[in-house]
């Protein structure tokens, strides 16, 4: 199995642990991820507020470069995943916009056809690799550990490409295959506040706190996430939340880190130490 890998800016910065654990796990499963040559920022949620056509063109450049090879894209960051899919869909639905963007990409020497498929690593693990094959690779099951599976917004909304929009279950299944238990977690797709945590902390922090506090109340020992911004908000701002709402002390890990641990990969390859809130409880006995 071979895919083109679109890391996005976060996985090269604050979300390094996501990249490290993703590459380690995919490598151990024999899946090749080749980074898209000279990829640029997808525009995330910010650039759409500045210029519509340009933000489509930013994502379009990446898609056009990827189209040169007959491979699907794997985009682990929720914002990148959404933006790339939104661009494919938007350019399909709006011919005028498409003409404008295609023309601009031509000015840069690129040819956009809209043929490449954009996938999330969770989708690839469940549907291409398969739970049976993953279960067979579990060497150190996380028996007795309880997690809150947190999907966040943008991998299930607005497009439900591989999971249910209202009650996604793919990560629950994956964590179960790792031997872990999932707490009932009705906030699994509620917004963490996104970039508001930085821009309007009085609002953003509260949203993040709600996610963490609910996980704690339900007896989870860690929140497991699929998104670098969710991880950053939930993990990085716990000190700030503590001064306003009370301390939660909840480790926030990527699903790829949990899978890696269960597969017996060394914690040093999975970026476990990059968590600001220590994941000691999860690591007990390892």
């Amino acid at each position: 199995m071979k895919y083109l890998y679109f890391p996005g800016c976060s996985l090269k910065g604050t979300g390094k642990a996501y990249e490290e654990s993703l590459l380690a796990v995919f490598n151990a499963l024999g899946i090749e991820l080749r980074e898209i040559e000279d990829w640029n920022c997808c525009g995330a949620t910010a650039y759409m507020s500045v210029d519509e056509a340009k933000s489509y063109a930013l994502a379009g450049r990446n898609l056009a470069i990827a189209e040169r090879e007959d491979l699907q894209i794997v985009a682990p960051c929720s914002a990148c995943y959404l933006v790339l899919n939104k661009t494919q869909q938007g350019l399909k639905d709006h011919p005028e916009l498409r003409a404008k963007v295609v023309k601009a990409l031509k000015a840069g020497g690129l040819d956009y056809k809209g043929t490449v498929q954009v996938r999330h690593p969770l989708d690839v693990l469940i549907n291409d690799v398969g739970l049976d094959k993953i279960a067979a690779r579990i060497k150190q099951p996380l028996t007795g550990h309880k997690f809150a599976p947190y999907y966040g917004c943008q991998i299930v909304r607005p497009y439900a490409t591989f999971d249910d929009q209202y009650n996604p279950v793919t990560m629950n299944k994956l964590l179960a295959a790792c031997g872990a238990q999932c707490v009932e977690y009705p906030l699994k797709t509620r917004c963490c506040g996104g970039s508001l945590t930085g821009t309007l902390p009085e609002v953003g922090l509260r949203l993040s706190y709600i996610i963490l506090n609910e996980a704690k109340k339900r007896g989870a020992e860690a929140v497991v996430t699929v998104c670098p911004l969710c991880q950053f908000n939930l993990d990085g701002y716990q000190d700030k939340m503590a001064s306003q709402y009370g301390r939660v002390d909840m480790p926030v890990l990527y699903f790829t880190q949990i899978l890696g641990l269960a597969m017996g990969l060394p914690a040093s390859e999975l970026g476990i130490k990059r968590g600001i809130v220590s994941a000691q409880a999860v690591m007990a006995g390892r």
């Binding site: 500045v50 930013l58 709006h94 601009a104 509620r190 508001l196 949203l207």
Partner: protein
């Protein structure tokens, strides 16, 4: 409290504004709204908004341009798409928020104390220069431009990020920056043509 006119006369409404929204990508279904309020109920931010999403949609289609463009509501939208998925009339509320944000930036009428439009513009500038975004530099820049005092309260987070190796002070860059700029400039020319029209 100064006395202000609270109700608009028919002639004071900006009907072109609503027409403009329905002509934009994502704004097409604006007039289908049945004011059921599901968007406001699902929105995790509505309790901070000056107008809930339901009210904003109504104001927008009735041509209350000034109220809509200078509202906090559009800048509080975190693009979680909960409303869009739930809307029984398939109104693309998130995309309507985006197009209103663009118009508000264009007309310079966003609420002054909100750093979000500044973040959005800075984000764009960073992409134009480097092709990628370095989160550390983006955040530092944002605080220096808006509230450097608040920046001091971020040192704890900064130290934690340094300690865990998640911070970098070098801009991350692509190789073919000229290619990217050509693409963006081609669209800039298009934009200017449209404005001239």
């Amino acid at each position: 409290m100064p006395l202000e006119q609270k109700i608009k006369y028919e002639s004071e409404r900006d009907q072109d504004f609503a027409r403009w929204i329905t002509s934009q990508t994502g704004g097409e279904n604006l007039r289908h709204c049945i004011q059921c309020g599901v968007c406001s109920a699902t929105c995790p931010l509505s309790l901070y908004m000056d107008y809930t999403p339901r009210r904003l949609i109504n104001l927008a289609r009735e041509g209350f341009k000034k109220e809509v463009l200078s509202s906090f509501t559009i800048w509080l939208c975190a693009s979680c798409y909960a409303c869009r998925v739930e809307c029984p009339k398939k109104i693309q509320v998130t995309d309507i928020m985006y197009l209103l944000k663009r118009r508000a930036i264009e007309e310079g009428v966003y609420p002054r104390r909100f750093p979000i439009p500044i973040l959005a513009k800075e984000f764009g500038r960073m992409i134009f220069t480097w092709g990628r975004v370095n989160e550390t530099l983006l955040v530092i820049d944002l605080f220096l431009r808006t509230n450097w005092f608040k920046f001091l309260s971020m040192t704890g987070l900064g130290i934690n990020l340094l300690r865990t190796g998640r911070m970098s002070f070098l801009p991350d860059t692509i190789h073919r920056r000229t290619e990217l700029r050509k693409i963006l400039q081609a669209l800039e020319t298009e934009n200017q043509k449209e404005v001239a029209k």
